[in-house]
């Protein structure tokens, strides 16, 4: 569990960090919860580690014109315990609270987690359901992409070489919106076998808006559009949840076969939808 030799760089500003990351052998370090174990196993061997923790302004959580702006270096604990997030975007706080254990949540950051894009991470389900916007900075400037565009495939995101996630923006939930994140956890790693985030707007039980984000089930997080359409057209939650697995090529491993994962996805989708409906009241 000894890493390869590497240079450790500590930029003090975002432009400096981006300059250092222009080197293809450099890798950004945020909380290190995925990168450091990989380095210790020597599966990852970046020649340079660019530690972002000295870059100012990346940890703030603030409200701005109807949205919450969350700095990429906000830790999972910052997010789960933020009064602002809990009050205005509880789904994100819930997803954060499901990550790993306390030690991991104290170190790991939202930017690091989503840029890594583990197919079983918790945030992607919530960010998909929240239709979050992710700001990506590069030497040429900053661009914003939607969660749906951001998560491309297994460990693959819209972040290009030399770019950095700098901010995640999520909506302040309107009154009448209910959300829930429900996760079946893999007992060894704590990652999601499946995780479903539901975000619903309902008036006296009638769903006017449904957003369902799914993680863990397949190679990449996704929005379950079929389930959303069913819910919005008045379908019963159970029946709508059943559609979550339609057309999905589910993952299979020693912890859960594809068949069982698909089943769990239906079960947890129904749980999340029911809980979100209850919260919407």
């Amino acid at each position: 569990m000894i890493a390869h030799p590497f240079d450790y760089l500590t930029p003090k500003s975002l432009p400096e960090a981006l300059l250092l990351l222009a080197d293809p052998d450099a890798k950004a370090l945020a909380g290190g919860m995925s990168l450091i174990p990989m380095m210790k196993l020597r599966l990852a061997a970046p020649a340079k580690l660019v530690d972002l923790r000295g870059v100012p302004g990346l940890t703030s959580i603030s409200e701005e014109s109807g949205r919450l702006k969350i700095g990429a270096l906000a830790t999972h604990f910052d997010i789960e315990s933020s009064r602002l997030v809990r009050a205005k975007c509880p789904l994100l706080a819930m997803a954060a609270a499901h990550i790993g254990d306390v030690q991991v949540r104290n170190m790991g950051t939202i930017g690091g987690s989503i840029a890594h894009a583990d197919p079983a991470a918790d945030y992607p389900a919530a960010l998909q359901a929240l239709e979050a916007t992710i700001s990506i900075a590069g030497v040429g400037g900053t661009r914003a992409v939607s969660a749906a565009e951001f998560f491309v495939d297994t460990f693959t995101t819209a972040v290009g070489p030399g770019e950095l996630v700098v901010e995640v923006s999520v909506p302040v939930e309107a009154a009448g919106t209910g959300t829930s994140y429900q996760k079946c956890l893999q007992p060894a790693s704590g990652f999601a076998i499946v995780g479903v985030a539901a975000r619903l707007q309902a008036v006296s039980g009638n769903i006017s808006m449904a957003r369902i984000g799914v993680t863990g089930l397949s190679g990449c997080s996704f929005r379950a559009n079929g389930v959303e359409a069913l819910l919005e057209s008045g379908s019963d939650p159970q029946a709508a949840a059943a559609a979550i697995a339609n057309g999905i090529d589910a993952n299979s491993d020693i912890h859960a076969s594809a068949e069982y994962r698909l089943h769990l996805a239906r079960v947890y989708a129904a749980k999340a939808i029911r809980a979100a409906l209850a919260a919407a009241r």
């Binding site: 000894i2 020597r42 079946c184 007992p187 060894a188 790693s189 020693i254 912890h255 069982y260 079960v267």
Partner: protein
């Protein structure tokens, strides 16, 4: 004035906080990795990524050229070092020569192939990456039943059947009993491979002083003295020139009751290079190369009368040994056979063990070592018999228990159970859970469509290993007690505590016996240069055997104290109480410190008495001890997901006399945690090619605190007649009692679906599939 200690203030029986804990929880304890010696090198081991392969060539040139790399050694360099020892002897046992580095073939993933020695740990690791090993990959076999099949790859080419040994034991008229049985229940039951996962991995530091020709090995071990004797033999170092030091040990669970290749290898490197060398096992190496536990496939048959009387037990036990024998590998399943009748009176048994080589890391002692497997087997079979006979599981057990008047009881497997009242903990546990009320609750739950289960296990164990004739390396234990001139007390114990809290319990024993302050006692262990020979800590023996040796040493010492006390008080009759010798007639008294001081000053000596104040005792136990107990587990199975939730866990353990309830509770909690681990989560899985699929904590699930139920821990106290302390041992009880209770509970929950058996771990998917199909 001496403090007045009344009987009520005796420390034995009190929940005194552990002396060890402040240093452990403040990070100020000294482990092997905390030790730095001048000029120390670091070693990194190159290991096979294949389960079976011939080594065609090894190129060490690039590694040797790395600045900072001091040496690289391969199998050829160490071929004359003695083999890693197997201490178990069984008739006809095939023992493969276990070199400390692979010679021309590797036998499991993780097999050490070469070692890189460098000036720091990082360079050693970099050097290891530069060692080029050219392998010719061979077919491997990782499953013991597949290894027994015709045409299976041979783990060791000289033994194509992969059988290391066959072992047979029987008692009574087995054929007749089974032929005449009114009911016979059969079941295949597995006890999966488990990975011990101690918090501290293995760690070795070796130092050679060429002037003294003396080698010191620091190792994270449970058996310092045996390690010294055996490694001295491997390296050809005279035993008196080898010192083994075991500093703080971060857990072992049996995995450090062993002698490993790396311990001898570091000693060899230190002698070869003349520089100290340290090796710290990585967690990845720990998964791959430290022994695993369990690995049973058991075929059980139980014969009974219609009234529930168990008349015979038959077992075919297939033990996955792995590629080699470590210290006790082949002996572990024989312990299962010894324990196979459990707490039941049945005198007819028949057991056949087949020990099977596989291309996996060896199995060996892991918490419970053979007894959890046996208890799991018999307790599952008794539940299945109850179901078959439509009897209540508790009632069937009570009917078959050995009764209190029958002790000492000669078991069918040749043991003599010391003492017991088996109904007592079961009845207590049934009372605690309100068994009848629970069954009623279960009926209601089922009516509501919920799968609630109630399961129990009544276990017995063989502890306090043990009488020397029954153990491979002596089963006695030693203690010495020295009262220093100031009256402070130094205890040297031959056991090697690594989490069991004996610095505390032994201080309690000394405090009570000598009437001294608990804080005036220090308990030293784990250094062969300062502690007289001892056996070590394993098999729930520390207090029952080591504590008893201490007790007898204290009796000898008290006699000497009294002789000095009588001399100082100028009388021929004294009593020793509350830390003072007193003359009843005159009322004069003298303190222990004054007596100790006088014994060293030695101005005058009692007739025939040596100066100084020290006693040493080697105690040979006349028998094992046999703790027992009852665990009851209430579970509910989620119908949608198959997830098992433990709703109540009641453990009533009888470990004989309890010296410190806090420590006993800790042992029960830890044991139950590992039992729940086996029942629900843990499984060391090898694929068909011998790759360990659960080679990190990302895939191997040990229970976290959030996955643990509240444990209601209670006790009955049936003293053991084997030792004067009356203690039996508790280190393994929680693990042994747990798994059958959990599985019985889940099987009970699903019994309306026709489920009669489930193998561990009870993963949600496994249960879900049962719920889908309605059959196990």
């Amino acid at each position: 004035m001496a403090s007045v200690i009344t009987e009520q203030e005796k420390l034995i029986g009190k929940g005194i906080k552990r002396k060890e804990d402040p240093r452990l929880i403040t990070g100020t304890a000294t482990y092997v990795d905390d030790m730095q010696l001048p000029g120390m090198h670091h070693a990194c081991i190159v290991r096979s990524p294949y389960a079976a392969a011939n080594i065609k060539s090894i190129d060490i040139k690039a590694a040797l050229e790395t600045p900072g790399v001091v040496a690289v050694y391969t199998g050829a360099a160490v071929k004359d070092v003695g083999p890693v020892p197997c201490g178990a002897s069984l008739p006809g046992l095939r023992v493969p020569h276990h070199h400390i580095l692979a010679q021309d073939r590797v036998y499991f993933v993780g097999h050490p192939v070469a070692v890189v020695v460098a000036t720091d740990r990082y360079i050693a690791r970099d050097g290891a990456d530069l060692v080029e090993v050219d392998y010719d990959v061979l077919p491997a076999v990782a499953d013991p039943e597949k290894a027994l099949a015709d045409g299976a790859p041979a783990v060791h080419p000289q033994w194509p059947d992969n059988v290391a040994f066959n072992f047979h034991q029987e008692n009574g008229e087995v054929e007749k009993v089974f032929a005449e049985a009114e009911v016979v229940v059969k079941q295949r039951i597995t006890s999966q491979r488990l990975i011990p996962s101690s918090m501290e991995t293995r760690a070795v530091l070796a130092e050679y002083r060429s002037g003294e020709k003396a080698l010191t090995i620091y190792s994270s071990s449970q058996i310092p003295h045996l390690l010294r004797t055996l490694v001295a033999g491997m390296l050809g170092v005279p035993e008196h020139k080898l010192r083994v030091v075991v500093p703080e040990v971060g857990g072992g669970f049996g995995s450090k009751l062993n002698v490993y290749a790396e311990e001898a290898l570091m000693g060899w490197i230190a002698m070869k290079t003349g520089k100290p060398v340290k090796w710290i096992e990585s967690r990845r190496e720990n998964f791959l190369t430290t022994i695993h536990g369990r690995g049973h496939v058991d075929y059980y048959e139980i014969a009974a009368k219609k009234d529930g009387t168990i008349t015979g037990i038959r077992l075919k036990l297939i033990q996955d040994l792995g590629a080699y024998h470590q210290l006790l590998t082949p002996a572990i399943p024989t312990l299962s056979v010894l324990m196979m009748p459990g707490l039941y009176r049945c005198q007819t048994i028949c057991a056949d063990i087949v020990g099977v080589f596989t291309n996996c890391v060896p199995t060996d002692a892991y918490r419970g070592a053979g007894r959890p497997e046996a208890t799991h087997g018999i307790e599952r079979m008794v539940d299945m018999l109850a179901a078959e006979l439509k009897m209540d599981a508790a009632e069937l057990r009570l009917k078959n228990f050995i009764q209190p008047g029958e002790f000492p009881f000669a078991s069918a497997t040749g043991l003599t159970y010391d003492s017991g009242d088996y109904a007592k903990p079961l009845k207590k546990a049934l009372d605690i859970v309100n068994y009848m009320g629970l069954r009623e609750q279960q009926r209601k739950a089922r009516a509501e469509g919920r799968w609630m289960g109630i399961g129990m296990s009544t276990y017995g164990e063989i502890c306090a290993f043990g009488p020397s004739p029954a153990t491979p390396a002596g089963g006695w234990e030693s203690a010495s007690v020295r009262i220093e001139p100031s009256g402070k007390i130094t205890v040297h114990t031959g056991v090697s505590p690594h989490g069991q809290g004996e610095e505390t319990t032994f201080s309690q024993i000394v405090a009570d016996e000598l009437g001294v302050d608990f804080n005036d006692v220090v308990v030293l262990h784990g250094d062969t240069a300062i502690v007289q020979y001892g056996i070590g800590t394993f098999g729930s023996r520390g207090t029952a055997v080591g504590g008893t040796a201490l007790y007898f040493a204290l009796q000898e010492l008290k006699a000497k104290i009294k002789r000095f006390g009588a001399m100082l008080l100028d009388t021929d009759s004294v009593v020793y109480e509350e830390g003072r010798c007193a003359c009843r007639k005159t009322g004069n008294s003298v303190s222990l410190a004054e007596i100790a001081g006088a014994s060293y000053r030695a101005m005058k000596l009692p007739p025939g008495t040596e100066p100084g104040m020290m006693a040493t005792y080697f105690w040979e136990p006349p028998n094992f001890t046999f703790p027992f107990g009852a665990h009851i587990v209430v579970t509910e199975v989620d119908k949608e997901t198959g997830v098992v939730t433990i709703q109540r866990y009641v453990a009533v353990d009888d470990c004989g006399k309890i010296l410190n309830p806090l420590i006993v509770a800790g042992q029960v909690h830890g044991g139950v945690a590992q039992g729940i681990g086996q029942s629900l989560y843990e499984h060391g899985i090898y694929d068909d090619n011998g790759q360990l699929l659960t080679g990190e904590f990302m895939d191997y699930a040990i229970p976290k605190i959030t996955m643990m139920p509240w444990i209601e821990s209670e006790h009955t106290e049936t003293p053991s007649p084997v030792n004067p302390l009356g203690v039996k041992g508790v280190g393994e009880a929680g693990t042994i009692g747990c798994s059958p209770a959990v599985v019985n509970s889940v099987v009970d929950a699903l019994s309306p679906l026709g489920v009669r058996h489930l193998d561990m771990p009870l993963s949600p998917e496994k249960i879900w599939k049962v719920l889908q199909g309605g059959q196990a």
